[in-house]
Symmetry: C2
Subunit: 282 residues, 2 copies
C-alpha cells in the first residue's frame, strides 16, 4: 500500500457506514502539527464512503475545510453526515476528531459536494495555461532539512517537490515580495497522483508568505478546493499566489495542472500571517 | 428599517440563543427562487448572534455556503451551532431551513469563522487595484425587466447596479467570451453598505457566464466569501471573472472594492453552467 493510501486508510464501525477510525501519521507532520492537507484528504476519504453508502456520488467536486485545532499524530475519528443526495450531486459533512485528556476535540470540519467527474470534466471551454518551469532537475528540491526555521519537516520525506528557483529567493534571504511560488510535485514513493490525493497536494506547498518575507507559520483558517478532473500519471505542477494581504490575514490561491497541462484542481485559503515590520505597505 | 435590514431580521426563541425565525422575502427573488446571497446574509446574521451569545467574535472573516435546495419566499428557521471560541477567532455553523409539505428542508448550510476586523483589517500589504469604470450614469442600469429570459427580476428593485457597457455585449447578443463582468453596485433605497451586507453583494451580479454566451441559470453549488474590511459609505465596485469552465461547471471569482478603493471582500463559487453548443473549446 502506498504511503498516501496508508495515511487515508479507514476502518468502519461494524454496521455503521457513517463513522470511521483512522490515524494521523507521524510521517506527515510539519513541526509538531500534522499537515492540514492530509487531514482533509482523510476526511474526504471517509465522507466519500459515507455519501456512497447513502446512494450518493463518489467524486468530490468542491470541499470547504475549517481548521479548528492542530492535529497530533495518533488515532482519529472520522464522523460523517449526509445532507442531501440528488440526481447529479450529493452533499455531506464530516468532522475529524481526536481525544485530548479524555475529551473529544474537533480538528477539522469539512462540507463537500460530490458528483461524477467522468461526465463533469469535459469539454474544457476555458482554463488557465500552466506556468513554464525549468526542468525538475533544474529546480530546488525541498527536503526535510530545508525549513527556514531549522526544524525537520517530516512531510518532505513523503513528497518530491521541486521549486522553481525564480520563486525561492526567500531560501537565501531575498524574497521577491511578489507572493508567488511555483513547483513540480509528486509522491516520493512513486505513487501516481489520483483524484482523492489532490486535496492533499493543494495544501502541500510552503506558504506563499515565504515569498513576502514572512517566514513564520501561516495557519489556515479555511481552505476551499475545487476538483475538476482526475489527474493523468506523472508530475503535477502547482502555482500558489496571493493578491490580498492585510491585517494579519491573507488569501492564497493555488492551481494544480497535471502532466497533460490540464487544470485538475484549484484552491483558495484564508490564512493568518505575521508580516515583518519592514514589509512595504500600500 | 432598510430593505436589507428587514430581509435579515431575526427573532429568537425565548431563552434560546441558537435558533431564530426569519423570512425569505418575495422582494429578493430571481425567477421563482430567493437569491442565494440574501439567504447567506440571513444565515450569517443568525450565526453572528449565536457566536456572540457564546462569547465569541462578531465579524465574519470567512464563510463557506453550500446551497442544498432553492429557497422560496416565506418563513425560515435559522439554526446555529458554535464549534469553537478562541482568543482571536471563533467558528460556527448555521443551517437555513423551510417547511415543505410538513417536512423540514435545508436550503443552505454555512460554516464561518469570526474575528474582529477592527484589528484584522490593517495595515494593507498587498491588494488588487480597482478596475477603471465609466461613471455610474454612463453604465447600463440593471432593472427588473432586463433579464435575457424576459422574466421580471424582483431583486433588481432592491439593487442599484450599473454594469460597465464594455462587459454587457451579451445584453444585445454579443458576449465577449472573456468571462468578465464589472459594475458599480449599491442598495436602491439609499442604505449604505456595511460589513454584513457584503455576503449579499458578492452574489448579486448577473452570472459571469452571460459573458460566455450562456444565458441560462448558473446554480451555485458552493460560495466562499472572505470579508476583509467594513466598507466605507458610497458605491461599491465589483468585478466577476472566471478562469475555469469545463464539464458543466465553472469557478467564478468576485472582488468588491469600496469607495476608498479598498478591497473589502473576495468570493469564489463553483456553479453549474450549460454552455451553448457553439462555444469554443480549448
Amino acid at each position: 500500500m502506498s504511503e498516501f493510501a496508508t495515511a487515508v486508510a479507514l476502518s468502519a464501525e461494524s454496521g455503521n457506514p457513517t463513522e470511521f477510525a483512522g490515524e494521523l501519521g507521524a510521517g506527515w507532520v510539519i513541526g509538531q502539527a500534522v499537515n492540514g492537507g492530509i487531514i482533509k484528504a482523510l476526511a474526504l476519504a471517509g465522507l466519500r464512503q459515507g455519501v456512497e453508502a447513502a446512494g450518493g456520488h463518489g467524486d468530490p467536486l468542491v470541499a470547504s475545510a475549517f481548521f479548528l485545532s492542530a492535529g497530533a499524530p495518533g488515532p482519529a475519528r472520522v464522523r460523517t453526515e449526509v445532507l442531501r443526495t440528488g440526481r447529479s450531486m450529493s452533499t455531506g459533512q464530516v468532522s475529524v476528531l481526536q481525544q485530548v485528556d479524555g475529551q473529544e476535540v474537533e480538528r477539522l470540519r469539512v462540507v463537500a459536494t460530490f458528483g461524477d467527474l467522468s461526465v463533469q470534466s469535459e469539454p474544457v471551454y476555458k482554463a488557465t495555461p500552466p506556468p513554464v518551469l525549468p526542468e525538475p532537475d533544474d529546480c530546488l528540491k525541498g527536503d526535510r532539512d530545508s525549513s527556514p526555521h531549522g526544524k525537520p519537516i517530516a512531510i518532505l520525506d513523503r513528497l518530491d517537490i521541486r521549486l522553481d528557483p525564480a520563486t525561492t529567493g526567500w531560501a537565501w534571504g531575498e524574497p521577491s515580495g511578489q507572493g508567488e511560488l511555483r513547483a513540480w510535485i509528486r509522491f516520493a514513493d512513486g505513487t501516481e497522483p489520483d483524484l482523492m490525493s489532490l486535496p492533499f497536494f493543494v495544501d502541500a506547498m510552503p506558504p506563499v508568505t515565504f515569498d513576502l518575507g514572512a517566514v513564520g507559520w501561516a495557519p489556515t483558517l479555511e481552505l476551499t478546493t475545487h476538483l475538476r478532473a482526475a489527474p493523468a500519471p506523472g508530475w503535477l505542477r502547482i502555482r500558489a499566489t496571493t493578491s490580498n494581504v492585510a491585517g494579519g490575514l491573507l488569501e492564497e490561491d493555488v492551481v494544480v495542472w497535471d502532466a497533460t497541462d490540464r487544470v485538475v484542481a484549484q484552491s483558495r485559503q484564508l490564512a493568518g500571517v505575521r508580516m515583518p515590520d519592514s514589509a512595504p505597505r500600500t
